[in-house]
Point group: C2
Chain length 208, copies 2
């Protein structure tokens, strides 16, 4: 069945803002620093390039024992042998994704409200990404989720939750004691001069 996952530090790639020359280097640095999950996000390359990249990043993640989650593209997740797929509210519905991947693959869903969280839980999601918590240039169209709504979502579902959107070393402290499982970051690792050191610091701060 599906692997047990440590969601503490969930790293999402972003080719546009990364400090490294390649996605592979950026992912390897994040994992070296302690990232526990990698999500591969590619919106502007061909399906073939995305697939070949996913195969390479999967091999890197395997070396670190971290699951690789592919964003949006269920077909690429399946073809590349990824550990999971993550879908937002504008991607394939969670229920359809679960039918496609069966019981062996992780399915994550972006949820910004209790209603979306309950729907995802009912459709077989393994975890939720809740956000955006703060304004960020990474996903311009994401509506902000209040701390109150996050707490409501936490009460409503038992699924693991990671928060996303503007999470960095200055903001992560706000989520301690909320009962969520982890923090998801993009630029707080990807865009840093030393992404491994950045990951290490985030993980230390989150676990302290």
């Amino acid at each position: 069945m599906r692997p047990s996952v440590d969601y503490s530090l969930y790293f999402c790639t972003d080719r546009g803002l990364m400090s490294s020359a390649t996605i592979e280097e950026n992912v390897e640095a994040a994992l070296t620093g302690g990232a526990t999950v990698v999500q591969l996000r590619e919106k502007h390359c061909s399906s073939r390039e995305f697939y070949e990249l996913a195969v390479r990043v999967r091999a890197i993640a395997r070396r670190f024992g971290a699951p690789l989650i592919v964003n949006d593209r269920v077909d690429i997740a399946l073809a590349a042998g990824a550990d999971g797929v993550h879908v937002g509210q504008s991607d394939l519905p969670c229920a359809a994704v679960r039918r496609l991947v069966g019981e062996g693959m992780l399915v994550g869903v972006s949820a910004g409200s209790v209603a979306e969280a309950l729907a995802a839980a009912g459709e077989g999601a393994d975890y939720l990404g809740v956000g955006a918590m703060y304004a960020t240039g990474t996903k311009e169209d994401a509506g902000l989720v209040t701390m109150e709504e996050l707490k409501n979502i936490r009460r409503a579902v038992e699924l693991p939750i990671v928060v996303i959107g503007g999470i960095n070393k200055a903001t992560l402290g706000n989520f301690k004691g909320t009962g969520i499982e982890g923090i998801a970051v993009v630029s707080a690792i990807a865009a840093q001069k030393d992404p491994a050191a950045a990951a290490r610091e985030l993980l230390t701060l989150w676990k302290s």
Copy 2:
């Protein structure tokens, strides 16, 4: 197993150049005029929109007994219950697609050379789209295939072949007697003032 397909008039959608208000209207008109296959191509909408559109277009195609093929997105083809998927050389490799869809779904591959045609045949393709035969604004990056190469491909593989790229009522006569199964068109139906009449004329000319 896979349905037997009449490839005579293979219609590819294009939201950008269609004359109709909606893809659904454009597809219905093409089928009313006699299109025998519909390929749904969407490059710029969300996965959710593409999926929901594919479900609606599938229902239309079913009414006419025509197969619906989804371009590139194997996951959307599977989720929407399409009859097949079509991949180009920049999409998922044919062998990976066949593994994902099993034996029940059609897999088409774009081939511009004998080498690409043989590879597709070896990887389980059901048919080939060969082109672009003429320069067209529809796929700007497509290299042109000579009549000589088309004939070489025809000799090299037994798979059904449709030609694509600049096929219209003025050019389709060039492919009679080449032993190919059908013509694939975009603007010659989609962009015409009366797409049903355009499809009817193309089919009549092709079969005459």
